[in-house]
Amino acid sequence: MNMLDLVIALPAIGFLIALLIPRAMDNFIRLFALGFSLLTFVVSLTLVMGFQQGAAGQQFVTNVVWIQNPEIHYHVGIDGLSLWLIILSTFLTPIAILLSWNAIQDRAKEYFAFLLLLEFGLVGVFAAWDLFLFYVFWEVVLVPMYFLIGIWGHDRRIYAAVKFFLYTMAGSVLMLAAIIFLYTQAGTFDYASILDQFSTGKIVLTHLQETLLFLAFFLAFAIKVPLFPLHTWLPDAHVEAPTAGSLMLASVMLKMGTYGLVRFCLPMFPTAARENAPWIVILAIIGIVYGALVAMVQPNMKKLVAYSSVSHLGFVVLGIFTFTQAGLDGAVYQMLNHGISTGALFLLVGFLYERRHSLEISSYGGVATAAPWLSILFLITTLASIGLPTLNNFVGEFLVLQGAAQANFTWAVFASLGVILSACYMLWMYQRVFFGELSEEVKHHMPELSLREWACAVPLIFMMLWMGMYSQSFIPIVSEQNAKILHQGKMSSPVRAMAAVQGVNNAR
């Protein structure tokens, strides 16, 4: 039992205890959930403290048999890729709980319990080193989110929840099939062992098999990202979800997809990944521009932010499939950045919604007069989102585009269009919501930020500045891990090609 196990277990324990608390003790449940998630966050920080930069392989490993036959391990560990994503999950959960404090009055117990369950699943996804375990956590995440949207959402919540669920299931079923196929080849679900068998040539896949497996994994992750044209579940899910749901969905859950791409698709199927990169990159670039253009004409704030996510996540996918150090580092960094800045956008949109009970841009105007501090925080977040230097997104976007330029300059040209368009849609929204004459309806419903709201927003703003000004706190360990992935991909391809030739000879 190490600290990582504790980080995984704490939310689950919290979830179970929360279920036992009587329904009448509403406020206690809130406090309990907040306390537990804060505790988890503090414990997760020890992972950062104890993380050894430069050490080979995963750290904080626990590997015990979970199911005897077929042999499935509870194998968890972290490396430079997963560390920050776990911290992101534990960092945002308390914020999600705190921001729902007053908004959720109906069935509060289940709501906060589900948020803890969600955290459990998310941390598990990023920590799992057994493919089956990964799949289990992947599906665990789905359940609380389904209910968060379906029970506490807005008017069309059932449609959105079902759409969300089916979309994701459609992909993950293929991934399950691929995982089982890998099991039949490798005789184990253990990811480290599978990778090892790949690199030593113990598993030999035909070209077709590798491509199909890659596509099965890729599709599951691409839906989650979501990559154009698989994105239509996202706007619906975001618009209907409660604020905390949107926050967790955008900030962390989408990263499951991009994380999967880096964690599984690239190391296991480097050849297929490189072969398929051209059309994936084209889809990513279409996503960047398309998401931005569609965001520009949205009348609904949450939909606008949702489409902007499609655009931002396009950058991440682009960075991953440039196969350059800068691109990959930028992509991973951009995952974190998007988590912080889009999370903050949803948070602030949620604040507006709690005041005015509308998500339509047209029902606002002049908010800057009524609530200047809210406007300033929103402005900083907007600027972060459109990639202003010194704020977080710029660093990620710069690296991604730099990587793209190294791989193929045309990619950088088209992807950079997204940067222009992001300014258009965000600033137009900002203008229509915050500037202009203050109307009577808005005036009476627009108090300044409360202490609780400050407590939600300030950590995010702080992170935007920190990550924008001093990326060296975060990037080196990511960079180290990515260098390994790129190195593996390059090294293992010839080895595997040779092994494949031998395999063919043996068969004769």
């Binding site: 660093v395 793209a404 330029a405 203008q431 960079s479």
Partner: protein
């Protein structure tokens, strides 16, 4: 060593103080913080300059690694040489004067602290821009000043036109930044670094094609920030901001960043002759084009705005024909007299209780003689009156242009004549004749007039005091000697004087004449008066199709129609198939039995047909 970081840090501290607790501070403290921080920065610049021989031996400072990933390694680097020193002096010096002026000008405005917070933030980013030791830090400043420009243009955020102008400025600049960032990407893939020293050292050996591409992309960036064709459209609208902002950001400092960047990158441009030619052509075209619009405008700030666009064109012309130091010289003198023009205009507007239309002014020489005196200095300087600052720099550019291509000189001279005409037209319309506005005009307080006097002195004698080509000797290729320099000088002086004289005749002596000319020109005049309807053309060609297309085709068409249609279609199909299959599950045992029997028989038949079980 010299604590270069202190220069931008001082205004930044001012920004933090005024931005966070400014609302609770008394005005005097806000003033002290805002003005003090900039003045201290100016003094520190003087100190650093004095200690380091004014940048003769470049200073270099590396503070921390900002972005590092693989080969990409960008530090927070500062770099001070003679060019930086000039820019630092201009930015902090003019910045201090305008801050002082603004304490008077903005005294009765709401959001006083907010204004100064933004202004200090602007100083921070602008100083970063000029201090930068690599292109990415320059880009930080570049985007940062764009942000402050956005905030300050939209300072009166209740006014829709102001916030729209702010958005326009930001977005048009973003198009320029698109070029700039692509230039950086290409630069990094070519040189493996964004450091000035490394890039400039490696540039001469690289293929001309790539250098030309980089230079063109940088030019796109510069046209955005420095308001050149085709991206100049944001600057006239930017006059929605308070006047000190127009003076500081949209005349003296920020808009010259493009000129600074091109001069800074002179090594790259010099190895890309095609791009140089493009810079010169863009500059010249903008100079003429904006000057013609300036002839027809009635809003005093719009006149000066187009004049700024036109003068920036001059600077680009200088850079493009290889006279980098002349371009920088004009940058500096322009900062003096254009800041003065705007501040003077602000003083006039202040005097006329917020009126900006020159047709409702007039006769102000009786009410605001001091303002008139300083504005006269600025107007002489911009008209290139011999001995004034503008004369030297403009003459240097025009002479160099003649050396490059004589026709450029002649176009430049015509533009100079137009410049003199429209500036003096504004002067006569404001100060001569009878007062046609409302209320009683009044002279401005000394907090406003003081900086104007300093600027007036600089406008008159700045050219003599600071001989920029001499200071920058050795940094750029020397200016070519041109035959008959004296005659060229005479021609440009004559053009300026002619412009002044003509305006005097048309707006003082024979005031009916303008109306007659206008009537005679008819449609052509309307076209120029409507700024050639470029905004409308951009709207129709780019903005509207983009928005309508996104709405109708992408959102409703592709997203909701095709993709969601397909997804929902799959859902309905699944339901339909389920509906058919559901009929089998009747719940009637005997029908199940029938199916089983039928199945069994079918199985037996199949077995029989297949030859039975072996």
């Amino acid at each position: 060593m010299y604590k270069l970081w202190l220069i931008p840090a001082l205004p930044f501290i001012g920004f933090l103080i005024n931005g966070i607790i400014g609302r609770k501070l008394p005005k005097a403290v806000t003033n002290l913080v805002a003005v003090g921080s900039v003045v201290l920065a100016f003094l520190w610049v003087l100190f650093v300059g004095n200690q380091s021989n004014w940048g003769a031996t470049p200073l270099h400072a590396h503070y921390f690694t900002w972005i590092k990933s693989g080969a990409v390694n960008v530090g927070w680097d500062y770099w001070v040489d003679k060019l930086t020193m000039i820019m630092l002096m201009v930015v902090t010096g003019i910045g201090s004067l305008i801050h002082i002026y603004a304490t008077g000008y903005m005294e009765h405005e709401e959001g006083y602290y907010r204004f100064f917070a933004y202004l200090n933030l602007f100083m921070f980013f602008m100083l970063n821009l000029v201090l930068a030791g690599n292109y990415l830090i320059l880009f930080v400043g570049w985007e940062g000043v764009g942000l402050c420009s956005y905030l300050l243009i939209g300072f009166y955020f209740v006014k829709k036109s102001a916030t729209t102008a702010g958005n326009k400025a930001f977005i048009v600049n973003r198009i320029g930044d698109f070029g700039f960032s692509l230039a950086m990407f290409l630069m990094f893939t070519t040189f493996g670094s964004l450091n000035f020293a490394k890039v400039f050292a490696a540039a001469p050996g690289k293929p001309e094609g790539i250098l030309t591409a980089i230079a063109f992309l940088m030019l796109l960036g510069a046209t955005g920030k420095s308001a050149q064709i085709p991206l100049y459209v944001w600057l006239p609208d930017a006059m929605e901001g308070p006047t000190p902002v127009s003076a500081l950001i949209h005349a003296a400092t920020m808009v010259t960043a493009g000129v600074y960047m091109c001069s800074r990158s002179s090594v790259i441009f010099l190895h890309a002759p095609m791009a140089m030619e493009a810079v010169a052509l863009v500059g010249l075209a903008t100079a003429v084009f904006a000057a013609t619009i300036g002839l027809t405008q009635y809003d005093i700030k719009k006149v000066f705005a187009y004049s700024t666009v036109s003068q920036l064109g001059y600077m680009f012309l200088g850079v493009g024909v290889g006279a980098f130091s002349a371009g920088v010289w004009h940058l500096m003198t322009h900062a003096f007299f254009k800041a003065l023009l705007f501040l003077g205009a602000g003083s006039v507007i202040h005097a006329c209780h917020g009126e900006q239309d020159m047709r409702h002014m007039g006769g102000l020489r009786k009410y605001a003689p001091k303002t008139m005196a300083v504005l006269a200095c600025a107007s002489l300087a911009i008209a290139g009156f011999p001995g004034t600052s503008g004369f030297f720099s403009k003459d240097a550019i025009l002479t160099a242009a003649y050396g490059h291509a004589p026709w450029m000189f002649w176009v430049g001279v015509v533009t100079a004549g137009m410049t003199a005409f429209y500036v003096w037209r504004a002067f006569w319309m404001t100060f001569w004749g009878e007062y046609k506005g409302h209320g009683h005009p009044h002279e401005s307080p000394w907090s406003m007039l003081g900086p104007l006097v300093v600027l007036a002195i600089l406008s008159l004698f700045g050219g003599v005091l600071f001989n920029v080509p001499k200071i920058l000797e050795g940094m750029f290729p020397p200016l070519h000697e041109v035959e008959g320099e004296g005659m060229l000088m005479g021609i440009s002086i004559a053009a300026g004087l002619l412009g002044i004289a003509l305006s005097y005749y048309m707006y003082v002596v024979n005031t009916e004449l303008p109306a007659k000319i206008t009537a005679a020109l008819g449609g052509l005049y309307r076209l120029v008066y409507d700024k050639y309807r470029v905004d409308e053309a951009y709207d129709a060609a780019v903005v509207t199709p983009l928005i309508e297309g996104s709405k109708a085709v992408l959102w409703h068409g592709v997203d909701q129609g095709v993709i969601d249609g397909a997804v929902n279609g799959v859902g309905y199909q699944a339901r339909g198939i389920g509906g058919i299959l559901k009929l089998i599950q009747s719940g009637n045992i005997r029908s199940y039995a029938t199916w089983i029997a039928v199945g069994a028989v079918a199985l037996l038949l199949a077995l029989g047909a297949g030859g039975g079980v072996k």
